[in-house]
Each structure stands twice: as structure tokens, then as C-alpha cells.
């Protein structure tokens, strides 16, 4: 087998080299500042430039402020404003809800009515509740009534490398399949799911309509292998930028030998269906 040096550009084609850029919807980005470190692209214009450079046509943006702030009302207002001021429509704001806070219902209403958000994002492991808790059921009912997409971030970082004083164990999804059977209209996407979720639990969640994204999907040919197991509309593109290098997710489209239909589903079709269903 002959070897040859291979151009860097062969491993990661520049957008300029791509003849006809297709839609690419990143369902997992965050704005503002990660609480424990500066991320290289935690300035919104810089993040927008990175996403644009890689052909992202829409990015669903939550806020890192959601993790530790109690005043999510202003966090969501800042997020909406930041998305409006940068990216010319690239950034779709996804508000944060903490259902353990008093009057979280007003935050939900403002997300939907004031900011015209299409979805909201939860961080149960930072907010201290479980998906089997009644308060989550009440939240899910309310979000579903409003037709909002619900993103649940199972983790934000590897729990082995967390700050010792701020450990947040991964969210357990075991209660979710049974709960979702009670809310057939709910639209739920798990973010950063594959750091802790593998095998049968993934299939069980997919069977009740849960969507996923690929930011934490590991193993060689991970996307291609998972697409063989899941219903075709369950997996979306997601980068977890700027916490992760965006290129990690983008290269996964290259690592698997995807059919054109799989690529279209993964890069944009599934996200569009999820948002608009």
C-alpha cells in the first residue's frame, strides 16, 4: 500500500474550495462566557465568523450564562439581543429555563412571546433537578403547550476535568422515555448526549422521538455507525462551539462514508424538520 503526504486542505476543505455550499445547521452553540475559562471564540462576532467560514447557515444558540446565573430573565434578553445584533440571522436564540427557580413560567412566556424564541435549553445537572422530578414534567407540559423545542444538555464538559468545587454529574435520561409517552407532542433534543449515553438507552430514546446531535459523538465513523441504528430523522449536526473546536464536528461529516441522503439529513434536513414540526 503506497503512502503519500496528503494536503492539509484535503483533510478539512476550506469553504472556498467547496463548489456549492449546502445548508449546514448547527444545533448546539453557546454565546457569552464559559464560567471557568475563556474560550478562544467566546466573542460573538468571532464565533459568527468561524461558523460562516465553515458554511454554517443557521446556528441554534444558547447562553453559557444559563449555567450559574439565577437571573435568567436578563440572560435570555442579552442572548436575544446578541443574536439580533450579530450574524444577520445566522443565530437562532434558544433561551434558558431553570424550572427550579420561582416563576420560571414567566421566563418561558417571555422566551416565546417577547423574544419570539423557537426553543429553550435546559441544564438539569447545573440546576439541580432530575428528569424524573415532577417539576420537569410541569415544565415539559408548558413548553409543549407553547410548541417550543426543548433542548436538554446532558453535560457541558467531561466530568473528569471539572473544577473540584463545581462538579455537575451527567443528567440521567432513564425517566425520559416513559415521560415522553405522556407528551406525544413534545419535541426534545438531547445535547452533548454521547459522552455518557450509548447503546440501548439511545435506541429507547430515539424510539419515543428524541433527537440527538453529534458534538460528543466519538469512536471512528461514529456518525455513520449511529445513523445505521437510528430512525433516519433523529440525528442532527451540532458542534458545542465555542467550548469545543468547531472543526471536531465538521470533520465527522468526512470521517464516515455517508450517502447523500444521510449527509443531507445530518447537516440540515433533520434540524429543519425538528424546528418546524
Amino acid at each position: 500500500m503506497a503512502t503519500s503526504a496528503i494536503a492539509l486542505s484535503a483533510a478539512l476543505p476550506s469553504p472556498a474550495a467547496q463548489a456549492k455550499p449546502a445548508a449546514l445547521i448547527d444545533t448546539n452553540v453557546s454565546l457569552s462566557r464559559w464560567p471557568f475559562r475563556r474560550c478562544p471564540l467566546d466573542d460573538t462576532p468571532a464565533l459568527v465568523a468561524k461558523l460562516r467560514a465553515h458554511g454554517v447557515t443557521q446556528a441554534w444558540a444558547g447562553t453559557f450564562d444559563a449555567l450559574l446565573h439565577k437571573d435568567l430573565t436578563t440572560a435570555n434578553a442579552r442572548l436575544a439581543d446578541e443574536c439580533a445584533r450579530h450574524g444577520k440571522g445566522l443565530l437562532l436564540p434558544i433561551g434558558a429555563i431553570n424550572p427550579t427557580l420561582p416563576d420560571w413560567e414567566t421566563d418561558l412566556r417571555r422566551c416565546a412571546e417577547v423574544h419570539q424564541m423557537r426553543g429553550v435549553r435546559l441544564h438539569p445537572n447545573y440546576h439541580g433537578y432530575k428528569l424524573g422530578d415532577p417539576l420537569f414534567g410541569r415544565f415539559l407540559a408548558a413548553a409543549t403547550d407553547r410548541g417550543l423545542l426543548v433542548q436538554i444538555a446532558l453535560v457541558m464538559e467531561d466530568d473528569r476535568t471539572q473544577l473540584a468545587l463545581a462538579k455537575a454529574a451527567p443528567t440521567d435520561t432513564a425517566p425520559l422515555p416513559a415521560l415522553l409517552k405522556k407528551f406525544p407532542g413534545a419535541r426534545v433534543q438531547l445535547l452533548n448526549a454521547f459522552r455518557t449515553l450509548r447503546g440501548k438507552p439511545v435506541l429507547d430514546l430515539a424510539a419515543v422521538g428524541v433527537r440527538f446531535e453529534i458534538a460528543t459523538l466519538e469512536s471512528v465513523e461514529g456518525a455513520g455507525n449511529l445513523l445505521k441504528q437510528l430512525p433516519p430523522d433523529r440525528l442532527c449536526f451540532g458542534s458545542h462551539a465555542p467550548f469545543y473546536y468547531f472543526e471536531s464536528a465538521k470533520l465527522k461529516l468526512q470521517e464516515s462514508d455517508l450517502t447523500p441522503a444521510q449527509r443531507a439529513a445530518l447537516t440540515h434536513d433533520n434540524a429543519r424538520k425538528l424546528l418546524n414540526s
Binding site: 500500500m1 474560550c39 473528569r160 471512528v220
Partner: protein, 262 residues
């Protein structure tokens, strides 16, 4: 043009009933990513605390795997400092008298102990590339799992021998601080989340010449680990060093000694 050599691959996490089939599959996937060479170590299944018999079995599997692809792969011999004599024998069998070019030390035994010394000394005589797994795990290290600080203690006793700090301790903000002053230690980027800023800090604190790309495939994707280099805000010249030139430089002495042309 960037030459990509992957420092850190295994036969796990990839389809195939035999080592050869798994190696072929890894090479196919790596080829899509522009990766020219793969370093592979440990068998299927692997043992965390391998007996002498385990070592021979796992190393035989790697010999099988690399035997069919000598121009795409390099083998590292898996050793256990709890079994020094057996480890030295494996070093002779697989490196001195075999095709392997490096040493892999994992989580059987903390690396600061004196048991490591004869292994490091013999590996250095053979010019073998030495790789020691490390982690700073806030949830707790395994009993025999080394930290970068323990590797620094070992490296101080062998200041003229390059040693690779596997995973850079996982918690790279700590790992890079731990090893930055020990000039014979190199940072392996493999096998952790593709957290932005990692590679920039590595280059800032160690210099690009001490940073090495690796994936930890097949458990990890090539993508997430290559993303750490492609996505980093560092000069293209630094990326080239990290993606392959540094590893080639570290391997050149043993490749020359073995008459292996690359």
C-alpha cells in the same frame, strides 16, 4: 502540505474479528482524514494490569496487525512495570528483535517508581519512543494510573530520554503546567474532549516542537482529535509540527537504526 502521523491508536472500537481486519478498517477510515501513519498499541481485549501472558498475547496481536501494513503502521510494545523481567523480555522480542518502534505504559503501575528505570533505560538504548498514559482525574485516578507530576519525577531521572505524556493528563490545563518545565516531556493531545484552547495553551507553554497529535482511535474519533489541531489559532508551521513532523523527528533515530525508510 501537512504530513499526518497519528501517535495513538488501538485495535478496540473498530469492526473486525482479527487484528488484521481491524487494522485495515482503521487505515481505511484514517485515509479519509488524510492520516498517513498510525501508531498502534495494546490488544483486543486489553488488560489494565496485564500478566506476562497478557503482554505476549496483546503484543502478538499488534504484531499481526502491523505485519500486513508495514508502510502505514508502527507498533509500540505494551509493558507492565509490575513485571519488569517479562517487560524487558517483551522489549527485546518486539523492539530489539522485532518490528516495533515504541513502548506503551498504561495504568497498571504508577510511573514514578524505580521499577520503571530499567525499562526506560533499555528503551532509550533501543531509541524506542516511550509513551506513558497520564491523567489528573477529579473523580479519582485508578490505583495504578499515573499523573503528569509522577511522570515528571520519572523524566527527571532520565533527562536525556524523550518521554510522551499521554493525554497530557486529560485535564490539560493542569497537565501542561505540570510538564512545561521538564524539557524531555512531550504532550500527547489524544483521547480527551476537543476543548477549544487546549492546543493554543500547549503551544504557548511548551512550544510547538513538544506537542504531538494523536487520536486514541478507535474509541475516539479521528475527527474530534484532529479538530484540536485544525481548529487551533496557531501558525500553520506549528500545525505541521504537531500533526506529524514532531513524531517523525522523535522516531527518526529508531527508524534509521532499523533501516525503516519513511
Amino acid at each position: 502540505m501537512a504530513m499526518i502521523w497519528d501517535l495513538h491508536c488501538h485495535l478496540s472500537g473498530v469492526d473486525g474479528k482479527t487484528p488484521e481486519k481491524r487494522m485495515a478498517q482503521l487505515i481505511t477510515i484514517a485515509g479519509r482524514m488524510g492520516i498517513e501513519r498510525l501508531c498502534v498499541y495494546m490488544g483486543m481485549p486489553w488488560a489494565r494490569d496485564p500478566s506476562p501472558e497478557d503482554l505476549r498475547r496483546e503484543n502478538d496481536q499488534v504484531l499481526q496487525a502491523i505485519g500486513k501494513f508495514p508502510d502505514r503502521t508502527f507498533g509500540f510494545v505494551y509493558l507492565n512495570p509490575k513485571h519488569v523481567e517479562a517487560s524487558l523480555a517483551e522489549l527485546e522480542r518486539c523492539v530489539a528483535n522485532g518490528p516495533m518502534v515504541g513502548v506503551k505504559l498504561w495504568v497498571a503501575h504508577r510511573c514514578s517508581g524505580p521499577e520503571l528505570d530499567p525499562i526506560i533505560q533499555r528503551a532509550a538504548e533501543l531509541k524506542a519512543v516511550i509513551f506513558q498514559h497520564t491523567w489528573f482525574n477529579v473523580t479519582g485516578n485508578l490505583p495504578g494510573e499515573s499523573t503528569p507530576l509522577e511522570l515528571v519525577a520519572l523524566a527527571r531521572r532520565h533527562p536525556n530520554t524523550p518521554i510522551i505524556c499521554g493525554h497530557t493528563g486529560g485535564d490539560w490545563e493542569l497537565g501542561l503546567r505540570a510538564i512545561r518545565g521538564q524539557r524531555n516531556l512531550y504532550a500527547d493531545l489524544a483521547g480527551s474532549e476537543p476543548v477549544a484552547g487546549y492546543t493554543e495553551m500547549a503551544v504557548r507553554e511548551l512550544g510547538a516542537g513538544r506537542v504531538l497529535y494523536g487520536s486514541d482511535a478507535g474509541g475516539r474519533s479521528f475527527s474530534s482529535q484532529l479538530g484540536k489541531v485544525f481548529g487551533a489559532n496557531i501558525p500553520e508551521s506549528a500545525k505541521k509540527l504537531i500533526l506529524g513532523e514532531n513524531l517523525k523527528r522523535l522516531m527518526t533515530p529508531i527508524l534509521k537504526a532499523k533501516g525503516i525508510k519513511v
